[in-house]
């Protein structure tokens, strides 16, 4: 039985100054079939120095639990727009979150990293559950996560 629920999220806003050339990047975050409630996930981008760039998606609706997505919460604390148009429901165990974002060409193959923080109620937090360089070479390959993320796969069009 396919246990894939697809959440399509399209984040069109750009945090970096408007760049003429951008392309859609699609990420599939598949969760492990752990024994627990739905996971809170934060999908975001950091630069070569590990500094926060932009939030791509936050799954889970209650702000009081965001502190459990601790890396993202700390890094993005100063971004007042971090939740603008990029939130949705938490993702159940074994299911897949699909996120599509328009990313500037300048971000690809330039040392930027895709990161996913994960947290599940009454279970351990997993900041930076998976970290993948945003390069054409890594695109299309599944990257396994530490705790809740089975795999992160992204495609650059």
């Amino acid at each position: 039985m396919s246990r894939i629920l697809t959440t399509v999220a399209t984040a069109c806003a750009l945090a970096v100054p408007a760049v003429a050339h951008s392309r859609p990047v699609t990420m599939n975050v598949q969760l492990k079939d752990y024994d627990g409630d739905g996971a809170y996930l934060a999908v975001y981008l950091t630069d070569a120095q590990g500094a926060y760039v932009r939030t791509l998606w936050v799954a889970g609706g209650k702000a009081k639990y965001y502190k459990h997505l601790s890396d993202w919460n700390r890094l993005s604390a100063r971004d007042t727009e971090r939740l603008a148009g990029v939130t949705g429901a938490s993702v159940g165990a074994g299911r897949t979150l699909k996120v599509t974002a328009d990313l500037a060409d300048a971000l690809i193959d330039a040392g930027y990293e895709l990161r996913v923080d994960a947290a599940v109620e009454d279970m351990r937090d997993s900041p930076s559950d998976v970290r993948v360089p945003l390069t054409r070479q890594e695109a299309g390959k599944p990257h396994s996560g530490k705790r809740y993320v089975q795999s992160l796969t992204f495609e650059i069009e």
Binding site: G36, K67, R74, A77, R78, D122, M123, R124, K146
Partner: protein, 734 residues
């Protein structure tokens, strides 16, 4: 809406949800207990620094160390990319057993918090918690009112089975349930984001690499200053992230530490809302305090009991209540009928009166006397008043006289009393009312009339008089409302000659066991105890006579002791019964008089057939509570009822001592009060040690007994009146 209505309707409506929350809460309360038993006993570690270093030595891949509410320490880490979680020994950091989070099913918590309905369900649970808080508070108000004040709160509880259970358990569980619901409300408010727990945005801090290696945990000042007891969680810096920091969460707040310099980069105090939340969690869940979790669990499990007994109380009251059809609003009615009645039988008369007046085209409003008030449209007021005890007002109408005194709009008024001529205070309360109204200058519609033994004829005559006063024909055909009766078969009788033409007999009837279904539908004879009353309706009459029961349903039969009165319709009928004959009967509870498993010594005082309920108490004294019987008769050969049984019970130690007085034989000892006076020192001793007293017999005998006991109690600075107020002294008189 009064407290009672609030309590009743919230209880009935929100009660079913509260049952779900109570039961799941009881299930969840087992978690802290299980955690406490599963957690390995934790030894001491002086500081978090020491603890972290020990754990790091034993478990190199450790990422996080938590102190559970149970006090156990758990370390989380990775080994070969596999997540690990172990209980560790804080003394040496040794890994003990694998840590398993709560073994309880997840649905239990979800059901408890959100009724499995997501966010809408969270509002539902919060609403139920609010209802529960209001039910608790209104319950406390009603409890204080019922017990007669804060000082009597711990006193004996009277009432029917469900009432007693509701009050007895409520007295204990109420504070816990109230605390549970208030803490639940606060926790809900944080989940529903009405209260924010955040201390503010987290500081953006990183470790600054300066070529130095990591400092060991033992050299980090913040960790050295943090006691293990205050620790919630310690996150160690990740090996692969050179900028990662130490993060320590404690009860007091959260701190971030540079991995190279050991400097505390930032500290955030836990906001007051968070500290309050921590307390609410401990109080609501019992985590970190398993004995409290046990108490919470028991309180949660008691919720279904409240709901079921509450339903039964409401159902019984509904069944007993007389409903008035087409009751006009008080402001529009031309005729107001007010009723004061302890037992409720007077309401039946009120309904007959109401219907007859409404038939004549009047707009009639009928209400309890506690609602006494006239309006501009009011043309006349009729008060139907029964008397409670020795001429007092029925409990619900105890403030009625003050209310009447405040009423300025005075209209013609008539008082109709109900009572029994045998009682010295016949219609005592009705007379008081009449007098107060005359003195206050209310116009008299009709002179005071008193109805004896619920006589329908007398009531019809009063109706004629009222009709004349109103200038219209008024026919009051009152058919007394009787509870459904059950057929009982006589299985044995034992006759005593008595005196003159007044023989007595002990009649034993079979108790037909009633199925649960019939009992729920209110059919058949319910459970009863010695001291309750059986109402018997002689053929061809509609007025029941009541006899005290000398047995309980546990005995499997109904037993009464009946003396034949000259001209007595019912006693003559009963004396004519042969084994195999049947009667129609129903049970009326007498909760103030029956004994409920008391451990205190009991003094039983009875004269003549009044010994019957006392014999019933002794018969079921399986616990061998000290019981002392004072029996008064005339001649041991003619009216010593239950004599052989009583002697056997003495041998079986169901009865501790027997004292008799026979007034018609030489050296018989006089009256029962004389026997009491002879035994004064022992009685005083018993009463000083909390003995309870039950008196059954005629009214003059009871007065003599009370006078004798007052003499005996005087040196203890006590009186019969005080014992009555404490529920230690009760009478069943005829």
């Amino acid at each position: 809406m009064g407290w009672k209505a609030l309590h009743r309707w919230l209880g009935l409506i929100a009660g079913c949800l509260a049952v779900v929350l109570g039961l799941t809460g009881a299930l969840l309360a087992t978690d802290p207990v299980l955690q406490a038993t599963q957690a390995p006993s934790s030894g001491a570690a002086s500081s978090v620094a020491e603890l972290a270093e020990r754990v790091q030595r034993a478990m190199p891949g450790v990422e996080e160390i938590r102190r559970l509410p149970s006090g156990a320490i758990v370390a989380f880490g990775f080994e070969d990319d596999q997540p690990q979680a172990f209980y560790v020994d804080p003394r040496d950091g040794r890994m003990l057993t694998v840590y398993q989070p709560s073994p309880l099913p997840r649905w239990a918590k979800k059901l408890h918090r959100s009724l499995l309905l997501g966010d809408a369900g969270r509002w539902g649970s919060a609403g139920t918690a609010l209802a529960m808080a209001v039910i608790s508070v209104s319950g406390l108000v009603l409890l204080v009112r019922r017990m007669g004040g804060w000082r009597q709160l711990a006193g004996p509880v009277r009432g029917t089975g469900p009432q007693r259970l509701h009050v007895l358990v409520g007295r204990v569980a109420l504070p816990v349930l109230c605390l549970s619901s208030v803490t639940a409300l606060y926790m809900s408010a944080t989940t529903l984001e009405l209260v924010t727990l955040e201390a503010g945005p987290e500081p953006d801090v990183t470790s600054v690499a300066d070529g130095q290696p990591d400092l060991p945990a033992s050299q980090l000042p913040l960790l050295r200053d943090t006691r293990v007891e205050d620790l919630l969680k310690l996150n160690l810096p990740h090996a692969t992230d050179p900028e990662d920091v130490w993060t320590v969460s404690t009860r007091q707040g959260q701190g971030w530490i540079d991995r190279y310099s050991g400097e505390t980069l930032a500290w955030q105090d836990a906001p007051p809302a968070q500290r309050l939340y921590d307390w609410a969690v401990v109080l609501h869940t019992g985590e970190s305090a398993w004995p409290w979790a046990v108490i919470l669990g028991l309180a949660g499990a008691s919720v279904p009991l409240f709901w079921i007994t509450g339903l039964l109380i409401w159902w019984q009251a509904r069944r007993a209540a007389v409903r008035i059809a087409n009751n006009s609003p008080p402001a529009q009615a031309d005729t107001l009928i007010f009723v004061a009645s302890e037992g409720g039988s007077t309401w039946g008369f009120a309904r007959t009166l109401h219907d007859a007046l409404a038939q004549n085209g009047h707009r009639v409003h009928t209400a309890g006397l506690e609602h006494f008030r006239t309006a501009a449209a009011t043309r006349r007021v009729l008060i139907l008043a029964a008397t409670h005890g020795e001429g007092q007002a029925p409990t619900h109408a105890r403030h009625a006289l003050e209310r009447i005194a405040h009423e300025t709009r005075k209209v013609p008024i008539a008082v109709l009393g109900f009572g029994d001529r045998q009682f010295p205070a016949f219609c005592g309360f009705a007379r008081k009312l009449e007098q107060a109204l005359r003195e206050a200058g209310w116009p008299q519609l009709l002179p005071l009339e008193c109805i004896h033994q619920q006589s329908s004829q007398q009531f019809a005559l009063w109706g004629e008089a009222l009709g004349k006063a109103l200038g219209e024909p008024l026919a009051l055909n009152h058919v007394p409302h009787l509870p459904p009766t059950t057929t009982l078969t006589l299985i044995a009788r034992r006759d005593y000659p008595g005196f003159a033409d007044r023989p007595a007999t002990i009649l034993r009837f079979r108790w037909p066991r009633t199925s649960w279904r019939d009992r729920l539908r209110g059919r058949g004879i319910p459970r009863f105890a010695a001291g309750d009353l059986v109402g018997i309706v002689p053929p061809g009459t509609s007025v029941p006579r009541f006899y005290s029961l000398a047995s309980g349903s546990e005995d499997g039969f109904l037993e009464i002791c009946v003396r034949r009165m000259p001209g007595g319709l019912c006693s003559t009928y009963l004396h004519g019964l042969k084994p195999g004959d049947t009667i129609e009967a129903f049970i009326r509870p007498n909760p103030g008089f029956t004994l409920h498993g008391t451990k205190r010594p009991v003094i039983l005082i009875g004269a003549g057939t009044g010994v019957a309920p006392l014999a019933g108490f002794i018969r079921r004294n399986d616990a061998r509570t000290p019981m002392h019987l004072y029996f008064g008769g005339r001649d041991p050969a003619r009216d010593f009822y239950f004599d052989t049984d009583i002697r056997r019970w003495l041998e079986e130690r169901r009865l501790t001592s027997l004292h008799t007085a026979f007034s018609r034989v030489p050296d018989g000892g006089g009256y029962v009060q004389d026997a009491l006076r002879r035994d004064a020192p022992q009685l005083r001793e018993l009463l000083a040690h909390g003995a309870i007293v039950r008196v059954c017999g005629s009214r003059p005998m009871a007065q003599g007994v009370a006078a004798a006991l007052d003499e005996i109690l005087a040196p203890l600075h006590l009186s019969v009146q005080q014992l009555k107020a404490k529920g230690r002294y009760a009478e069943d008189l005829f």
